[in-house]
């Protein structure tokens, strides 16, 4: 019997078709093969493009993991659902970008002890910390402090929206497609963060204090968002990447407007420095990333190649 209201029925229907699934992916790469394997734009080094896909993908992957820590811990059910939804959107963006990076570098196409494990899975679950290319902001824990959570989300979504908005016209069709979809999604993320910032900042003395403290802490990681890596510099010329430095004016203007309206002060926190010019984009991370990667990968590493 077909019951259209039972979402699980069709899943059990396919089980009979001998269709075991790798526990951490569902053959996604096969279905979007046409787009993922689009030719590399003229004049572009595939290694640069792969690195750039990892940067954009790892930002989303690591941040969605941090956001997911709120599940079963949020102050209200509505906020839990919201944060989980935001995480899910970012996970979707990360999957496509990691698949593209895997295609470009030949990761996960064949071989590996997990056999045909999709590229996105190999990249997410079997890289070591120094191979991740995300910015430091997304590694930082909220420690279940909602003010900190909203501060991180406000900075991240404002910046990512500015980036994706410019990437809609990227010469790489996969990045352009992720951006076109992502702009719509991240617009909602920013909106959510903005409205909570207004509510907390212009709320009680306690909510104001906590929101301001969240911003003061997060501000140290803002500067890195505008630093241009060598790969990005080369890809900007080919029309593939956006120079993140170009997003600074827009990001700061949005943040200033929101903070003013929320009666919050623009933090004067000193920006986190680099180590010989290197940072997250070069694989050099804060000590906060290790535990995230550990937790993210524990199941896949413990039961490599598991199916369900």
């Amino acid at each position: 019997m077909s019951d259209p209201t039972n979402a699980y029925q069709s899943l059990s229907e396919t089980t009979a078709q001998d269709d075991p699934r790798w526990a951490f992916g569902t053959g996604f790469t096969d279905d979007v093969a046409a787009e993922i394997s689009a030719p590399v734009p003229a004049g572009v080094d595939p290694a640069d493009l792969a690195a750039y896909c990892l940067m954009l993908g790892d930002d989303a992957l690591i941040y969605q993991h941090r956001l997911s820590e709120w599940v079963a811990n949020a102050p209200e059910l509505e906020e839990e659902v919201a944060l989980a939804n935001i995480a899910l959107d970012l996970l979707g963006q990360a999957r496509v970008l990691l698949s593209r990076a895997g295609h470009l570098t030949g990761v996960g196409i064949k071989g590996g002890s997990a056999g045909s494990t999709a590229a996105e899975d190999r990249l997410a679950y079997f890289r070591v910390e120094s191979e991740f290319r995300n910015v430091a902001l997304v590694e930082q824990p909220d420690d279940l402090d909602f003010g900190r959570c909203i501060a991180h989300l406000l900075l991240f979504s404002t910046w990512r929206l500015a980036l994706l908005h410019r990437l809609v016209s990227s010469a790489d069709p996969v990045i352009a497609a992720v951006a076109a979809k992502g702009v719509k999604e991240v617009a909602y993320h920013r909106d959510y963060a903005v409205r909570w910032t207004l509510r907390l900042g212009d709320g009680t003395a306690e909510s104001h204090r906590r929101m301001q403290a969240g911003l003061d802490g997060a501000w140290a990681f803002l500067e890195e968002l505008f630093r241009t890596s060598d790969e990005e510099r080369r890809l900007v010329g080919a029309g593939v990447a956006v120079d993140p430095a170009e997003t600074r004016a827009e990001v700061e203007e949005v943040l200033d407007q929101v903070l003013t309206r929320a009666t919050l002060l623009r933090p004067t926190t000193r920006p986190m420095g680099t180590v010989g010019g290197r940072g997250g984009r070069q694989g050099l991370h804060t000590e906060k990333l290790g535990p995230v990667v550990d937790e993210l990968q524990s199941l896949a590493r413990r039961f490599e190649g598991a199916t369900w």
Partner: protein
Amino acid sequence: MVRDALAQVVDPEMPMLTLDDLGVIRSVEETADGVVVTITPTYSGCPALEVMRDDIRAALAGYGPVEVRTVLSPAWSTDWISEAGRRKLAEAGIAPPGSAPRGPVPLLLTAPRVRCPRCGEPVTEELSRFGPTACTALRRCPACREPFEHMKEI
């Protein structure tokens, strides 16, 4: 024939809508080797996509091998939901989406207005921007006091 069978497939999370109503089916090709259906995800991480894919395969099982492809571009928009789909949403108590925004994303410091799908009250309050599915927001009507979902414009 294939189209008719496909027209029966509903959205797993909003079963009052068919996939056609939702506007996610981009193309259907019948070849000598079987059927190729191309769909667009509504949201990047939409978990319903896998279920849609399985449902399409099951519905078309009698027409030879079925391949379901996913394309990301052009990105799905709520503007692609059919008029019939909008009516069915409203009948099911879900406020249909307005026109999707275009161009640069404006910074909004106030909330947009959504009419209550049950009593028609024009001003309702938002409980949460994110609802039980990726594509809906949760709202409440101050007149009839009922909570309801609103499909977000994207």
